[in-house]
Amino acid sequence: MSGKRPDLSVRIGDVELSNPVIAASGTFGYGGEFSEIMDLSQLGGVVVKGLSMHVERGNAPPRIVETPGGMLNSIGLQNVGAEGFLEEKLPFLRRFNTAVIANIWGRTFDEYIAVAERLDGAKGLTALELNISCPNIKEGGINFGTDPKQTEQVTRAVRDASSLPLWVKLTPGVTDIGELARAAEAGGADALSVINTLRGMTIDVASRRPTLSTIFGGLSGPAILPIALYMVYETRRATNLPILGIGGIEGLDQALQFFILGANAVQVGTANFYDPMASIRLVDDLRNWCETQGILSINELVGSLESG
């Protein structure tokens, strides 16, 4: 880095990112569509839509509904499957100078292991992000992400099945996120993605039915910002692992709050839908802000919370 331009690069464990702005899983597809309006190489990374071992059709529509300052989704993890990803999607993403993170999920330990093994060693894949917000159907629906033991076990199982850096994505719908963070760390996580969506629902009064076909869905968008910030605060108190801050980020102000609390990078989710240039603009805004503030490296900001 030359003397003047602020250095935006960050390290997430062994992974070096050119900047700390990443597109969040499920809000950026597999990157192809966005490449039509932006240069993906400008982004720190792209997390692709949650992959399972096999193709998934997903839930019946309606799959989204707006809520005050946010939205609910119940996509049901529709995806092209690990195979389809490797064949049809990854080769395209490899063309860009950006980190590619595969968000993965399963309904049993075995499914998690299978998809992790299938993706292991794939050229151009930077890391795995473990989506543990799914119920373990073998264990009678106990949630992988809300029970510390299951969190640790599924993390370890995937850890053992893959040589890729492993990010574990935590659910906010728990009594103590710090406990889950420690469980993921114990299982061998290299970093924590905080947070996934919160559970919510709405009712269509005219029909007296849930608006979503699946009754409830995941809440995302600006409305969840203060909750996400609090979860990052608690996670940072529980562990020294790198943190990817996620939730309600629209631009510079929100991203800075996450960095100050100790997030090492941020992911932009719902904003990609209503402001498709949001993540690219955030990279520019961060650079300019650092320059104005005389900050040479974004890392100076990370965890700079003043207390008392």
Partner: protein, 272 residues
């Protein structure tokens, strides 16, 4: 596809809760094909968060016939469209587009029968552009326009100006046929039995399903422009899926209305 912050250049109120917004943007205008849509912001705030999909209504061209802008024809149905109704000239909206798969229309050299455009309510919005394009390449066009009332009829004047014959139906009988717009269509097909007619439809799902059934029975091709709730409009959120036939064994899969559509061959869709 461009993402632009555009000033509203014109506002025209055309019926009860119906209005036309005009924009200047040569890049978007140059790419617009009949059936394309844009995603537009409705508020500067986060309430509501999402943009709204709107079909391209007309493409604006300058004296040398170069496209420099476009218009949207909008009907108020909920909070977002109500906010749009309050906008004035000079207000800004974020506009992403053009998006989606447009209607597939024959070229000048392709022979074809009469093109029958069937529409209900604000589903009329994309059809003046369809008619314009078809006429330009020398095809015959006829429009069947339905609405709740005479007041709420849309695009009838556009078609008349283009010289397209129009048949009208209203739910309350206040103009044209008293009933659904599929009846005049049905009647026309029965009395005239036009050879190689080609069908297009956009409107409420029951109406499009009825047209689909006519198309099946009479063995006529039909393209429908489908409206699904959309969060992103560009194919990344998977919120707008519709069922299409997966070929063998009567199986089906989901495709994205915003990307694989909004215009579909009606026979590809699974009409539940």
């Amino acid at each position: 596809m461009y993402d632009r912050r555009l000033a509203i250049e014109s506002v025209a109120h055309v019926g009860p809760g119906q209005f036309i917004l005009g924009f200047e943007c040569p890049e978007i205008a140059a790419q617009c094909r009949p059936g394309h849509f844009v995603m537009i912001s409705v508020a500067e705030s986060i309430d509501p968060v999402l943009r709204r999909p709107m079909a391209i209504y007309r493409v604006l061209r300058d004296a040398s016939n170069t496209p420099y802008g476009f218009t949207l024809l909008i009907e108020v149905v909920g909070c977002g469209t109500a906010l749009l109704e309050q906008k004035s000239i000079g207000d800004h909206l974020e506009v992403l587009g053009p998006l989606g798969v447009p209607f597939s229309l024959p070229t000048k050299d392709e022979a074809s029968g009469e093109h029958l455009l069937v529409m209900g309510g604000v589903g009329s919005a994309p059809f003046p552009l369809v008619a314009e394009e078809l006429l330009k390449s020398g095809h015959r066009v006829r429009a069947f326009v339905g609405a709740r009332t005479a007041e709420a009829l849309l695009c009838v004047d556009d078609f008349r100006e283009l010289g397209v014959p129009v048949e009208v139906a209203t739910d309350d009988g206040s103009e044209g046929f008293h009933g659904y717009v599929v009846h005049p269509l049905q009647g026309y097909l029965e009395s005239e039995d036009p050879a190689n007619a080609v069908l297009y439809a956009c409107g409420p799902t029951p109406m499009m399903r009825a047209v689909h059934e006519i198309a099946i029975i009479r063995n006529l091709p039909l393209q429908v422009s489908f409206e699904a709730p959309m969060a992103c409009g560009i194919g990344v959120c998977l919120s707008c899926v519709v069922r299409v036939d997966a070929g063998d064994y009567g199986d089906w899969r989901y495709v994205r209305c915003c990307r694989e559509g909004p215009v579909f061959d009606s026979r590809r869709l699974v009409w539940q």
